[in-house]
C-alpha cells in the first residue's frame, strides 16, 4: 500500500515538475499596426507568417486561398498558411482558450473567415483586434451604399472589426432534366411538396443553412418584415413567429424521410440532390452550384433560381483576433483580398464563383470591363437574375427560432 502511495505521489510530482520546468516559448509579441500609415503596416508585415483559419471543405476555395497567399508573398513578403477548419467555431474556441490561459499576445490564430453568429460572439466577448478595416487602401472600392450588409453583419454593425470578403445570396437549384417547373415561393413550395412528398428537405438547425431556410420562410410569411430587423425581445415575438410554426406543421410530414432525419449541412443536401433523393436544394451561392457541376458532384443539367419575392443575402468577412501574432501581415492580406484583382478572380467560376463585395462604379475602367466580361458558369445566376436581396433578421430571432425548432422537430418520438 505504501509503495503504491509513494508511486502515485512521485507520478504527481513528476507531472508537476514537467509542467513547471518546461521552457516557455517566447510569445511572438506583435504591436498593433498603425493602419493609417500604410507604409508602416507593409514594413511591419514583411517576413511575417499569417495563419489563416478558414473552412477547408471545398478544394476550389483552398486553391484560391493558396493563390492569394502566393500573391501576397510575392508582393509584400507575407507568408500565408491556411489552417483548414471543419467549423469556424473551432477557431473561436482556440482564441477563447488562449484568452482563458492569459495569452493576450502571440496567439495561434491570425485571421478567421467569419460572419454572422460567430462574429457576433467574438465581438461581444472582445476577442477581436480593431477597428482597422476602413483605413485600408482597398476599402474605398467596397460597395457600402449598394450592399449595406458589408458593414452590418446580420444587423450587427461590424465597427471596422471585420473586412468584407464575399457576398452570398440564397438561391435554390434543381435538375432541369427531372423537373419542368419549380415552386418560387414558400406557399408554392408547400403545394409542390404535397404533390411530390419526400422530395425536399433542409439541413438540421442550428446548422446555418437550415436556419437560413427557416429565416427565409419567416421573412416571407411574416406580416411586417421590418419587425425582424429589431431584437426579438422588443416585440411580441410569439405572435410574429406564429405563421412560421403553422407552415412547418404542414411541411413536416411531407419532408424527406418524414422529417425523421435531416442532412447535417448544405454539402450533405447537395449530395442528396446528386443521389436523386431530393429534387430541390438551396445554397448561399449559385456559383457554388456551377463549381459542383464542374467537380462532378451534380449533373450538368442543374440550374439555379430565386424566389419571386426575393431571397436572403449576407456578406462573409475576414477578422483578426485580438491576440494575433501577425496582425500587420493579416491586415495586408485582408486588404489584398478586397482588391479588384483578387475579387475578380474570386467571382470567376473557373476558380471559385463567389460574388464580389465591390461596387462596379468605384472601380477603374479596365477592372469594370473585366468584371463585365466574366463568364459566370452554367448554373450561376447573372446579376440581373438575382431578384431582390432580402436583409437578414437580427440574430436574436434566429436563436429563438432555433430553440423552438429543436423542441418541436429536433426530437422525433
Amino acid at each position: 500500500m505504501r509503495s503504491r502511495m509513494r508511486a502515485f505521489v512521485s507520478a504527481l510530482a513528476l507531472a508537476t515538475g514537467i509542467a513547471t520546468a518546461s521552457v516557455s516559448l517566447p510569445a511572438y509579441a506583435d504591436p498593433a499596426p498603425d493602419v493609417g500609415n500604410w507604409q508602416s503596416v507593409l514594413d511591419q508585415a514583411r517576413g511575417q507568417t499569417v495563419y489563416w483559419h478558414a473552412w477547408g471543405g471545398e478544394p476550389r476555395i483552398n486553391d484560391y486561398i493558396a493563390w492569394a497567399g502566393d500573391q501576397v508573398f510575392e508582393r509584400y513578403g507575407v507568408k500565408v498558411v491556411q489552417v483548414k477548419l471543419t467549423d469556424t467555431a473551432d477557431a473561436v474556441t482556440k482564441v477563447l482558450s488562449e484568452k482563458t490561459a492569459g495569452v493576450n499576445d502571440g496567439g495561434a490564430v491570425d485571421m478567421i473567415w467569419i460572419n454572422g453568429e460567430n462574429f457576433a460572439a467574438m465581438k461581444r466577448n472582445e476577442l477581436l483586434f480593431g477597428p482597422w478595416v476602413e483605413e485600408t487602401p482597398n476599402f474605398e472600392y467596397v460597395d457600402v451604399e449598394g450592399k449595406p450588409t458589408v458593414v452590418n453583419d446580420f444587423t450587427v454593425p461590424t465597427d471596422g472589426l471585420e473586412a468584407p470578403w464575399g457576398m452570398a445570396q440564397v438561391s435554390f437549384y434543381y435538375d432541369t432534366a427531372k423537373l419542368d417547373s419549380v415552386p418560387k415561393s414558400a406557399q408554392a413550395l408547400l403545394e409542390w411538396l404535397a404533390k411530390n412528398p419526400g422530395r425536399f428537405t433542409y439541413p438540421q438547425p442550428p446548422n446555418y443553412m437550415g436556419s437560413t431556410f427557416l429565416k427565409q420562410i419567416l421573412t416571407e410569411l411574416v406580416q411586417n418584415p421590418k419587425v425582424l430587423q429589431q431584437p426579438a425581445d422588443e416585440v411580441d415575438a410569439k405572435a410574429v413567429l406564429e405563421p412560421l410554426w403553422g407552415y412547418l406543421e404542414d411541411l413536416q410530414p411531407l419532408l424527406w424521410r418524414n422529417g425523421q432525419a435531416y442532412p447535417q449541412n448544405g454539402a450533405a443536401m447537395r449530395t442528396l440532390l446528386g443521389d436523386n433523393e431530393i429534387d430541390i436544394a438551396f445554397s448561399f451561392s449559385s456559383g457554388e452550384v456551377s463549381s459542383a457541376i464542374e467537380a462532378f458532384e451534380l449533373p450538368d443539367t442543374v440550374r439555379s433560381y430565386v424566389f419571386d419575392n426575393g431571397t436572403l443575402g449576407n456578406t462573409n468577412f475576414v477578422a483578426i483576433p485580438y491576440n494575433a501574432s501577425a496582425k500587420a501581415g493579416a491586415v495586408v492580406l485582408a486588404d489584398f483580398l478586397m482588391s479588384p484583382e483578387a475579387q475578380l478572380r474570386k467571382q470567376d467560376p473557373q476558380y471559385w464563383g463567389a460574388d464580389t463585395v465591390l461596387a462596379m462604379n468605384k472601380l477603374p475602367a479596365d477592372m469594370q470591363e473585366a468584371f463585365a466580361n466574366l463568364d459566370l458558369g452554367i448554373a450561376s445566376l447573372a446579376p440581373a437574375e438575382r431578384g431582390t436581396v432580402l436583409p437578414e433578421p437580427h440574430p436574436s430571432w434566429m436563436e429563438l427560432v432555433e430553440t423552438e425548432w429543436q423542441k418541436h422537430y429536433g426530437v422525433v418520438q
Binding site: R4, A11, L12, L14, A15, I18, A19, T20, S22, S24, L25, Y51, H53, G56, G57, E58, P59, V81, V83, K84, L85, T86, D87, A89, D90, V92, T93, K94, L96, S97, A101, A108, G116, N118, A121, R124, N125, G198, P206, W256, R257, N258, G259, Q260, A261, Y262, A267, A268, T271, D275, N276, E277, A295, F296, E297, Q406, Y409, G410, V411, V412
Partner: protein
Amino acid sequence: MLRFVPIITIAFMIGPVSAGLIGTLLPAFGILPALGGTEPGLDPWAALFAQPGIWQSVRLSLVNGLIASFVSVAIVMLFCAAWQGTRIFRAMQRILSPILAVPHATAAFGLAFLIAPSGWIARLIAQFAGWDRPPDIAIIHDPLGIAMIAGLVAKEIPFLFLMTLAALPQADTDRTAQITATLGYGRIAGWFKATLPRIYPQIRLPVLAVLAYSTSVVDVAIILGPTTPAPLAVRILGWLSDPDLALRFMASSAAILQLLVVVVAIGIWVAAERFIALAGRQIAANGQRFRHDGGVRAGSAVLAGLSAGALILGLVVLLIWSIAGFWGFPDILPRSFSLRLWQREYDAIGSSLVTTLLIAVPTVVIAIVLVLGCLEHETRSRHKPGRGAIWLIYLPLIVPQISFMFGLQVFFTLIGLERTLISVVLSHLVFVLPYVFLSLSDPFRALDPRYGQTALCLGASPMRVFWHVRLPLLTRAVLTAMAVGLAVTVGQYLPTLLIGAGRFATVTTEAVALASGGDRRMIGIYGLLQMVLPFAGFACALLIPAILFRHRRGMNAQNRG
C-alpha cells in the same frame, strides 16, 4: 532507472487527462473567467437537462454502445470457437488484419454508401425493380441507430479479433480442443466451456475499451447515426461548435455526463459478466454436448465474412468514387472516370504524409519504449500492478476525447508548449500509450518465464535476458503493438488540430476538413490515404517476423504470440 518508467508512463497518461478533466469540470459548474463565469453553480446542468430529447440521446449512446460491443464480442467469440485452427480461420486472419488500418470514418462512409437507399446495393436492386428514384426509407440515420451499430460492429470485429488472436496461443487451445472433442463436445460448445473462460480475462480490457469507444463515438455517429435526436457525443460536439459561447458551460457539463454514461455502460457490462459467469458455470457442468452445431458454425462464418466483406466492398466503392465523374442513381458504375482530383491532390499528399510521420514516429517510439520498460520492470520486480493502475491506464480510453480537449488545450497553452511538435506528440501519446499497453501487455506477461529463468541461470544479466531472450520472442507482439499505436496516432484529429493549432496538417486533419465538403470523391481519396501508413505498419508487423524467423519453426505464427 527502470523503476521510474512506470511513474513516467502514468504521468504522461494521467497528467494531461487530469488537466483536461479539470478544464472541463470547472466550466461544467460555471467557472470560466474568459466568458465571465466566476461563480460556481448548477446552471449549466439545469440548462443541459432542459434540452429537448436529452435522455433519448443518453439512452441512444448507452444502449447502442452496449449492443454494438456485445454483438462484436459475440461474433468474434463464435467465429473463433467455430473455426479456430482451420483454413477459414487463417484466411479471416489475413483479411481482418489489414482492415484495422481503415479509419473508422472511412469505413463508415463506405458502409453508408453501400446500404443507403440511393446506395450501391439499392442501385443493384433498382436494375431489376425498375426504380428511377431511391425509396424514401430511413436506413442511414434511422431513429433506432441500427446503421450506426452496424458501422461500429464492422470496425470492432477486426480489433477484437486481433486481441483474441494475441491471447489464444497462451491458452493452450489446441490441446483443449482435442480434449473437448474427445469428450464428445461440439466444437463451439467445447470452446465456450473450456477455452473462453481462459481467454476472456485477457481480452477484457480491449473489450471495455471498445465499449467506452462505442458509447462515446462521434464520427461514426455523425455519418450513420440518428439525427433526431443525435447520440450524446454528437450533440456535445455541436454545442462546443456553437457560436453562442455561453453554451460552452452546458457543453462542459454534457461532457461530464458523457463520462458518466461511459462509466454506467462499463458497470452494466461488468455486472453482465458476473451474471454470465454464474450461469456459465452451471451450463459448463451440465454435460450437454451441443454436438449438432453445424448451423451455428456456418452462421458465424457468414456473419464474420459479411462484416469483413461489407467493409472491403465499402472501400472498393470509395476507391471507385475517387476516380468517378458524375455518378447518379441508379447507375451501378459512374458514367465517366477522371483522375483529375488525384492529380490535383498529388502535391498536398506528400507533405501531409511527411507531417503525419513527423508526429507518428516519435509518438510510437516513445510509447513502445515506455510500455516495454513498464512491463520489464513488472517482470523483474515480480510485482503486478494493482487494479488501480489498470484503471489509470484505462483513463484516456474511457474518458471521451471531447470531455477533456478544451482543458488540455488550456493546459498546454499555460505551460507554453502550445503549437510545438512536443505538445502534439505528448497529446497523441495520451491516446497511444493505452492501446500499445493493451496490445502488448498480455503477450508479454504470458511469455513463459522459464526462458528468462534459464538464461539467468546460465549467467546472463537481466538486461541481456531482455534484449536477447524476451524481446526476440516477442517480436511479433511488439511490432503489432507498434502498428496499433501507429494506426491510433495517424487517426487522431482533435489533438492535432486543437493543440497543434493548425501548424500540423496531417492526412487526418486534411481528410476531416475535406469530408465536411461532402464530396464522396475527396472522402474516397483521403480515406484511402489515411490507410496507407497504418497499412504499412501492419504489413511490417506481419512480414518482418516472417522474414526474421523464416528458419525457425518454433517461432512461426501458430506457435508464438
